[in-house]
């Protein structure tokens, strides 16, 4: 590693020439900085870099006894198995489509709520709304799954017992009927996540120069006109940035949302299985490490290029928000 290099370069020798004296001084000066960095460097090495090299497991026939690096190579077999199933298509479609739906809905609602919250004049109401919007974002997805279960439980869920049954309608077996789940998942996701994007948009709107609005008022522009011609155009770079950053992550999904909110229900897999839930189930439930690692590899590689792509575009539009 680089530190060792720096250390060896700086290792003091008996006869100190001018140059060496300087490097000794430099070493003494910077050594504490490297030392302070060391725990973090080691952590990233263990938590990120070792697993990165471990990604080769996708090309191996994994055996517990020999570990990742000792297991025999297997060529593209794992991928052949993976892409021979329907699962590969289903999980790609679900991951992409849900993420696109989430991006669109969260953007639309986030901008709408942000505009309303900033325009509302009653300070107290403003605060209440803003607090309400953010709160679900801070709650764990497990708690969310409890709440969803409270509404959808077949036997004593709120919807079956207190809404459908008094209306004389038959209860719905929510956890086995897949046609409802695309809507439920989009709803639950935006219920939980919209607060965050809303806060970002509020910060964006607050940053718009008041002079624009003053000028618009003098010109006789109404509220809607001001929003259409000032707020939205000024907010557009923020919107595009957020959308693009999310596009960079469309190959990753919120595991808890797709696994635990639908209660890991087998009859719903067709509409709830994403790459992340597939990898988890293959690894932990089925024990098929080959399939799991192939799907994981697919996710890592495509995900990597998507991040690079989205960032390149973000850098063009708003360099401050680019990751690099």
């Amino acid at each position: 590693m680089k530190i060792q290099q720096a250390e060896s370069q700086a290792r003091p020798v008996r006869r100190v020439s001018h140059r060496r004296g300087r490097s000794r001084y430099l070493f003494k000066k910077w050594a504490p900085a490297y030392l302070l960095m060391l725990p973090g460097l080691i952590y990233f090495f263990i938590n990120n870099y070792i697993p990165m090299t471990g990604i080769v497991v996708a090309f191996k026939k994994y055996k517990v006894s020999t570990g990742i690096y000792g297991s025999p190579w297997n060529g593209l077999k794992n991928f052949e198995y993976l892409f021979a199933t329907n699962d590969a298509f289903t999980i790609t479609r679900n991951t992409l489509c849900y993420n696109l739906a989430f991006i669109l809905v969260n953007m639309a609602l986030g901008v709408l709520f942000a505009i309303f919250i900033t325009e509302i004049k009653n300070k107290y109401a403003k605060k209440v709304y803003q607090s309400a919007v953010l709160f679900p974002f801070l709650i764990s997805i497990i708690i969310v799954s409890y709440i969803v279960f409270g509404f959808l439980s077949v036997d004593n869920g709120m919807i079956n017992k207190s809404i459908l049954s008094p209306l004389g309608l038959e209860g719905v077996a929510w956890y086995t009927e897949k046609k409802y789940w695309p809507f439920i998942l989009v709803f639950v996701n935006s219920w939980k996540e919209v607060g965050y994007s809303c806060l970002i948009y509020i910060a964006g709107i607050t940053g718009i120069d008041d002079a624009f609005y003053e000028a618009a008022k003098i010109d006789g522009a109404g509220k809607l006109r001001q929003i259409w011609s000032i707020t939205l155009p000024c907010l557009l770079p923020t919107i595009i940035t957020i959308v693009l950053l999310n596009v960079g992550r469309v190959f990753y999904s919120n595991f808890g949302l797709f696994y635990q909110v639908p209660m890991n229900s087998g009859s719903l897999f067709d509409v709830t299985n994403t790459i992340d839930t597939y990898v988890y189930r293959s690894l932990m439930k089925i024990g098929n490490i080959g399939m799991a690692s192939a799907a994981g590899f697919y996710q890592s590689i495509v995900g990597f290029f998507l991040v690079l792509f989205s960032n390149t575009v973000v850098r063009r539009i708003s360099p401050d928000n680019a990751l690099f």
Binding site: P32, L36, A58, I120, Y129, S140, G150, M158, M284, A292
Partner: protein
């Protein structure tokens, strides 16, 4: 200035939409809280509701009397959150401080080393295999603290840019002239001046630890080592297993399944800390966004 008619209509529309949204947020939590205070027979007969016919605090009495496994899980989560957040802040700020030193040899390389972890990830399989086979953290307390959560590249970079932009170079230079070493500069200058970012990052990290259930799911097979969120997950998972095994054979499940009101009481207890510090959280979330946590 007089409000025009259009403006009035706009204000009303805005209030209506936001009130609907607020209700949409509050009702589910009301359902959660109310069902924990509902009489169990009432729950079986009429299901979950926003306002039960018969209140009861039996669930909480039961938790206090017999909830040892729940207290244990709660305690583990508290311990993991406190220890993990402390380490997260300590390691993160030390690293960020060094990366903020403009003349540090190799600064670019180390920044990239941190940054690259945000671009590329090995994914679950190699991470799981590394931690379980090479480091043997299965069923140890370390599994609740170390994987995924103990440090985050984005937090390190946020702290670094705060240290660079909010602490003037003159301060660093003055410290150097006064003969303060880097360690002194870190403890005496950067930590005190960096308090706003440290609080913000600390809250983010604490929240991640508190809400984490995946480390328990991945790395714990012993239920005694579950944190509160993983325990809650497990209870619901057992209910599903019970419902899907045709005759509902209790043998298929491992935890004695608590009644609905007790379950909801556990869930409520698990969000109480978040409710308590919410005003604080909200304030720092807004500041975090202003600092550029957008990327998070």
């Amino acid at each position: 200035m007089l409000q025009t008619k259009g403006e009035k209509v706009f204000q009303i529309a805005a209030h209506v939409v936001m009130i609907v949204e607020t209700i949409c947020v509050i009702l589910p939590f009301l359902l959660l809280i109310m069902s924990s205070f509902t009489d169990e027979n009432e729950l079986v007969a009429h299901g979950y509701s926003f306002w039960p016919n018969k209140f009861s605090i039996e669930a909480y009495k039961y938790l206090i009397k017999k909830g040892t496994s729940i207290f244990r899980a709660y305690g583990l989560t508290v311990a993991a959150t406190v220890i993990g957040t402390t380490l997260h802040l300590l390691m993160g700020s030390m690293m960020a401080f060094s990366l903020a030193l403009k003349k540090l040899p190799g600064r670019k390389f180390f920044s990239f080393y941190v940054f690259f972890t945000m671009l590329f990830s090995g994914g679950l399989v190699p991470t799981y295999l590394t931690y379980t086979n090479a480091f043997h953290i299965k069923n140890t307390f370390l599994a609740l603290v170390v994987p995924y959560l103990m440090l985050s590249a984005i937090h390190v970079l946020l702290m670094r840019s705060f240290f660079v932009s909010s602490i003037p170079d003159a301060i660093y230079e003055a410290a150097e002239i006064d003969g303060a070493g880097l360690l002194t500069t870190y403890t005496k200058i950067v930590l005190p001046l960096g308090k706003p970012i440290l609080v913000t990052i600390g809250l983010f990290a604490g929240l991640d630890y508190w809400n984490d259930w995946l480390n328990g799911l991945y790395f714990m097979s012993d239920q005694k080592m579950y944190g509160i969120q993983t325990l809650l997950y497990r209870i619901l998972e057992d209910i599903r297993t019970l419902a899907s095994s045709a005759m509902g054979s209790a043998a298929a499940t491992s935890i004695k399944i608590p009644s609905v009101s007790i379950r909801m009481a556990i869930a409520f207890v698990a969000i109480i800390p978040i409710i308590m510090i919410y005003p604080f959280l909200q304030k720092y979330f807004q500041e975090g966004i202003a600092l550029g946590a957008v990327k998070g």
